[in-house]
Symmetry: C2
Subunit: 211 residues, 2 copies
């Protein structure tokens, strides 16, 4: 088990799990390296700093998800003359769930990391994401705009940010929420179930008429 993967990968695997569970600032390099069973100094040798390790963890997912997501949206576009909002949001579910092949629990890990990334770290990660994956993000915004042409661009801007907040906060607290739902409502949910619950919510919110 010890040398099953190279050190760099072992660090990434341990770090993403701990970052997703506990957040970035609550996860020390000592904790990461002890879980990964590698030496403390190897993080700085392979990644330079903790900040760059965080970016590397996110990039490993974004590099897979972002192209897959914009491709799924473009495929959707060719099938339907006018895709509904639910169809657009739903077309992201495939690329999201495919992340489970990258890593066990990959979907949940990725979304939690994304949430932490937007909330923690004074916007550094926000900038990293929009600057490195801006083209894919635009594909998405354009598809949404076309699907609800009656909504003014300014309202779409606001509502997509409301949506980002919904998803990001939900994913950051997903573990706690699933636990409460299990205790209070005897519901056994996984991350796919939570995604299925949130899609009607955000679709209705973005499409609602009137101020």
């Amino acid at each position: 088990m010890a040398n099953r993967f190279d050190t760099k990968t072992r660090i990434l695997d341990a770090a993403e799990r701990l970052f997703a569970e506990r957040g970035f600032s609550e996860t020390s390099l000592r904790l990461i390296t002890s879980k990964a069973e590698v030496n403390l100094a190897s993080v700085n040798y392979h990644f330079g700093s903790k900040k760059e390790l965080i970016r590397a963890v996110l990039a490993r997912y974004l590099d897979v998800f972002m192209p897959a997501a914009s491709q799924a949206i473009n495929t959707q576009r060719k099938l339907e003359q006018q895709a509904t909002l639910e169809q657009i949001f739903s077309s992201l579910v495939g690329p999201l769930l495919k992340l489970n092949q990258l890593c066990p629990d990959g979907t949940r890990t990725f979304l939690q990391l994304l949430g932490r990334g937007y909330i923690e770290s004074q916007g550094h990660l926000r900038w990293f994401i929009t600057s490195h994956y801006g083209e894919h993000l635009q594909t998405f915004v354009r598809a949404v705009t076309e699907s609800v042409p009656e909504i003014p661009a300014a309202d779409i801007f606001w509502r997509l940010h409301f949506t980002l907040g919904t998803v990001v906060f939900t994913m950051a607290s997903a573990d706690a929420l699933m636990e409460i739902a299990a205790a209070d409502f005897a519901e056994q949910n996984d991350i796919a179930a939570v995604i299925r619950k949130v899609i009607p919510y955000i679709s209705a919110g973005v499409a609602v008429s009137g101020k």
Copy 2:
């Protein structure tokens, strides 16, 4: 009314601003006491520990907001036989905006603190909030449940947490969002305007039929 130059109040004022901006774990007692221009040791003298300071910061807002919110909901209830979701959410706007009298930017600060409290600190603050203000929360949940009786309780649970995420994230990024809206769409918004935009969004999401 507490003395503005009282050490305890100075600590609370500095702490809430920094906690809201940077998060709890990213804010050291040294930073708080230097901004408050008080001695480092005074935090432990007045509050015992950092953890209790965090609770005190939140409590100062919750003690004002929670009773005002549940009273507003009960007043609403007497006026309307069956309040709509938009009416229920709108009845919270008054109590929320009144927090600006407590402190400049009180509304935004409170909502940011609430978001941090739910995401950081491994559920300690979540427990604190639900155990100390559970009765007021129940008033709210009950009003929502009655206004959409066709929605199962478990779905209401999920959708109210989606809503919490929407509001909290939006408030956390409110400055950046209002700036972008001004530049890109020539819109001049304040916090009250953002709240008016978010109410239709969350109302539609909570009320949407179907899974």
